[in-house]
Subunit: 230 residues, 2 copies
DNA sequence: GTGTCTTACGCCACGCGTAACAATG
DNA sequence: CATTGTTACGCGTGGCGTAAGACAC
């Protein structure tokens, strides 16, 4: 599998469309850069550039991979930062997942609510899809999650799930409610109550409760999702 | 900066919470694995594990980084796959961005619409946030994007943007409408018309049009977003 | 002693740079 | 012939495995 260093090489070339300048920008010489691109192409088993002996162009595959590569590098940076932030707030921190769309809407109020209810507690935010959050919750990698389930009994893959109306309300999913937030005297349960209260007024339509009891490694745990009241 | 191989090491250890078994699973011996974890910790400048001479536990930072690391590895896999898919469909392919929430809802119909209107054209799907899509469109890395803008004149950061009602309708953002889809006789313009038509009926409230003319490298281009009709 | 992780050390491979090569305008 | 990207080759760093150490139960 390719490495991040190779992605950096690729992105540099894709940006410049010129090996010499890209190499310069990467503080290296062209030949090793060419080689890295070749290795990456080998690894992916796809030609990323069209080299027409006087110009370099991205192939369709290259164009597509360019989007993903930049995204990966950006996320790698962010991950590094996240870890340091978590360290800083070791005295009371809580891992919180949220769906992307919530960032524009409800998350600012969630952040404020946590800041008021549990001052000093560091909120570790992870942008994740709903399905990823359920995995993370059951595995104990996050304590809380803001998700939104498809409407009335429809399954995930049905495109009728939310086609003719809005989504179900935002749901606050909780793992092991009795547990205290590390370094604090507040339980995730009471914090979640506070958040639901403080973020009330978001578009909601129906009440819905979901709970599962999956096994995760040695100990089992339960997650439950409660709607944000309207 | 760390490498993906180090992330694989970290994830293996974080999963097993045991260096020996993790090493085994990675087809290597423990000592180099220990070293890689140390190097990763050095790089991040954060302790990821609490080693108490008979057990290994994740620190708060480690827990947080675990979430991100898994995500990165998954996305790396996906990126590799995307590139190969793009290669396969070189005869007519179109890069299409979409916001995560659309996957459950409108994307299946978009895919069907493209399949009918432009059979044989490969649809390269990229899950991206709205802001990322605008960047990708202006940079020419995607041709079309399905986004959703916050409601009536509110700015991105305002938490009132969509607090008390649903979002604005889905918008189909287009780059350089005159351009033809590579390897096909269909223009992105006509394809987008078809998609808007075929996906009509999604929750929409207000009409809205946004267009910008940013410079992207040498040539400038314009992107415009048109609402999906209700 | 049996299990754990870490430190020490030698070897090989991989990635770099320099130099020579090929190709195009 | 200037400028591009590729091939060839030698060197040094870095990551591996083996072996030995430290520590706990």
């Amino acid at each position: 599998m390719f490495e991040l260093s190779q992605l950096r090489c690729f992105v540099a070339v894709a940006r410049e469309l010129n090996f010499r300048r890209a190499a310069e920008h990467l503080h290296m010489t062209q030949p090793p850069l060419s080689r890295q691109i070749q290795l990456l192409e080998d690894d992916l088993n796809v030609k990323l550039f069209e080299r027409t002996s006087r110009s370099v162009r991205l192939t369709a595959a290259g164009k597509s991979f360019f989007v993903e590569a930049q995204d990966l590098l950006k996320r790698a940076e962010a991950a590094s930062l996240t870890a340091r932030q978590a360290e800083a707030g070791q005295h009371g921190s809580i891992s919180f997942g949220f769906i992307p769309v919530a960032a524009f809407d409800i998350m600012p109020r969630v952040i404020k609510a946590v800041g008021d209810k549990a001052p000093g507690v560091n909120l570790l935010l992870h942008e994740m899809l709903t399905i990823e959050q359920i995995e993370a919750l059951t595995a104990g990698r996050t304590e809380l999650g803001l998700i939104r389930l498809p409407g009335k009994g429809s399954d995930w893959n049905s495109d009728a799930s939310s086609a003719n109306g809005s989504f179900s309300p935002f749901m606050l999913a909780i793992r092991s409610s009795r547990r205290r937030i590390s370094g604090s005297r507040i339980s995730t349960d009471s914090l979640s109550s506070c958040i639901r209260q403080r973020t009330a007024g978001t578009p909601t339509k129906s009440l819905r409760r979901s709970s599962t009891t999956p096994r995760c490694g040695r100990n089992s745990c339960s997650i439950s999702a409660k709607p944000i009241p309207s």
